[in-house]
């Protein structure tokens, strides 16, 4: 029998994981919005940030919460370097080259991680944030709660940055019309670098928060990034509030499917949802065009 508590418990866990999907999606949608390039290596960025946090824990004894800013900084640099070394060289090349270059990066990073760190599952055994607490009669894991709140706050910060700061305005201007932005004195290439840096830093946050409770392995990015892709399309390409809304919807749909149908169908319903959106409202829930 399913009682109300179980359903409420399930919904809560869906919302919490949805915030993580949203944050991963925000990184994707930012890069896509500013330069029309899909970062297929986004899941591998997440994986890399989780390993950064893991090794800081294993080798230096740093707790994931302490490593979080380090992970953010490392991932920002990874994003910038990706733009400079991988993306910029193919910007004038045909569309297919632009798709394959981030796809190639994904394969490279995934295999690199398996080679360097083995396919073993790792776990941070004794994080500072552990245990669970009771909220209105529902139980929530503290790491999950902290991760969800951290993801929500970061998403809010990115949104504030885009809307309320001079640099954020610059990103918006380049996203809409890079030639017109250049006529205003904006260097589009520097703006692209920044979009990559911030987009990757978003998963730097997500990775550190997830490392508190999630297994770490070379293909760990898969689960999250697939949901994040669906969230980007569902929310509307380039829209941060759209990614947030869609992330939560997908998280909830995922857990309800697990509860009512079967955990094996979790991913499938998210894709079905995506297909419906693409057919019914191709610009996504909050998309602009």
């Amino acid at each position: 029998m399913l009682d109300g508590t179980i359903i409420a418990q399930t919904l809560l866990s869906g919302v919490l994981i949805g915030f993580i999907y949203a944050l991963v999606a925000v990184g994707l949608t930012l890069i896509y919005g500013v330069m029309d390039i899909v970062n297929f290596a986004h899941g591998e960025f997440l994986m890399l940030s989780m390993y950064v946090v893991f090794w800081l824990y294993a080798l230096a004894g740093l707790d994931p919460m302490v490593s979080l800013p380090i992970s953010v900084a490392v991932m920002f640099v990874v994003g910038v370097v990706t733009h400079k070394l991988v993306v910029r060289p193919v910007l004038r090349a045909p569309m297919s080259a632009q798709i394959f270059v981030t796809f190639g990066l994904m394969v490279f990073m995934r295999n690199g991680a398996q080679f360097l760190w083995s396919p073993n599952y790792r776990l941070i055994q004794t994080p500072l944030v552990a245990g669970r607490l009771e909220l209105f009669g529902l139980f929530v894991g503290k790491p999950q709660l902290v991760a969800a709140l951290g993801a929500l706050i970061t998403t809010g910060l990115v949104f504030w940055f885009l809307k309320r700061t001079e640099t954020g305005r610059t990103l918006q201007a380049v996203a809409e019309d890079q030639d017109a932005a250049a006529l205003m004195g904006i260097n589009p290439d520097r703006t692209f670098m920044l979009a990559w840096g911030i987009g990757a830093a978003c998963v730097g946050v997500a990775g550190a928060l997830l490392a508190n409770y999630y297994y770490i392995f070379p293909t760990v990015g898969n689960t999250f990034v697939l949901m994040a892709f669906v969230a980007v399309a569902l929310g509307g390409f380039g829209s941060v509030p759209g990614a947030l809304l869609a992330g939560v919807i997908i998280g909830v749909v995922e857990v309800l499917t697990g509860l009512f149908i079967s955990p094996a169908f979790k991913n499938i319903t998210a894709y079905v949802l995506y297909m419906v959106v693409v057919l019914v409202r191709p610009r996504g829930l909050l998309g602009e065009w």
Binding site: E166, R169, Q172, D179, A180, L183, M184, P188
Partner: protein
């Protein structure tokens, strides 16, 4: 102030300008007229760095700028109001103006310039929090000019500012261009409205399929048989 020397520009393999030379002296209004497809926009794009000439030199205040990327040319003092306005339609009017001041970070400068622009275009002040995409054609053109003025240009280049504007506003627009010029900004104007742009021009050029075929003062060209026949239908 601006010296364009024998520039060649091509799109892909197709040449659009074949050896164009002209100059824009400081303080003047210079008009380039010509029919659709003559290459007027291409000239402005080459000056502002959106296109690179394959040959020739563009000198601004004595410095060759034809190899500079567009964003550096703005810093030198050239503002380009492109064809079709190219506003940031999702940003508000106010935000568009702020992006226009990207090269000028000083808040006091921005405040002062904003006030000047709002006094030229009071409509922009009323609509400052509205999205640029929701403005009428005339208001959009005002915003495009205002946005360009926010960079404190020495040379303002306008590409068909009267296009898509209600006829009653066209007079006002040409008055504004004169006002801007009288405030000390040099103007390079490209227009299909040959009559009006020659009337306000100190100096003017006629462009035909990528070549300058006639030059003189605005008055001389207005009086020329060739211009009257080909462009004014007289």
């Amino acid at each position: 102030m601006l010296q364009v020397n024998d520039i060649f520009v091509a799109y892909g393999g197709t040449p659009a300008l074949h050896g164009v030379s002209f100059e824009v002296p400081a303080g003047q209004i210079v008009s380039i007229v010509g029919s659709n497809g003559a290459g007027k926009s291409t000239i402005l794009r080459a000056i502002s760095g959106m296109l690179k000439p394959t040959r020739g030199v563009i000198e601004f205040l004595g410095e060759p700028i034809q190899r500079f990327p567009a964003f550096r040319i703005v810093q030198r003092g050239i503002a380009h109001v492109p064809e079709g306005r190219r506003l940031f339609s999702k940003l508000s009017v106010f935000e568009n103006l702020l992006v226009g001041a990207y090269t000028k970070k000083s808040p006091t400068f921005r405040q002062k310039t904003l006030e000047q622009i709002f006094s030229i275009f009071p409509r922009l002040k009323e609509r400052q929090s509205q999205r640029a995409g929701t403005l009428s054609g005339g208001e959009q053109q005002m915003l495009a000019i205002g946005r360009a003025l926010m960079s404190e240009p020495k040379l303002l280049m306008l590409d068909e500012p009267s296009l898509g504007i209600m006829p009653v506003l066209v007079d006002r627009l040409f008055d504004v261009i004169k006002e801007i010029n009288q405030s000390g900004i040099t103007v390079l104007l490209v227009e299909q409205n040959v009559q009006r742009s020659l009337e306000i021009a100190h100096r003017a050029y006629v462009l035909q399929t990528g070549e300058i075929v006639l030059r003189g003062t605005g008055q001389e060209l207005l009086a020329s048989e060739q211009v009257r026949g080909a462009y004014l239908g007289l």
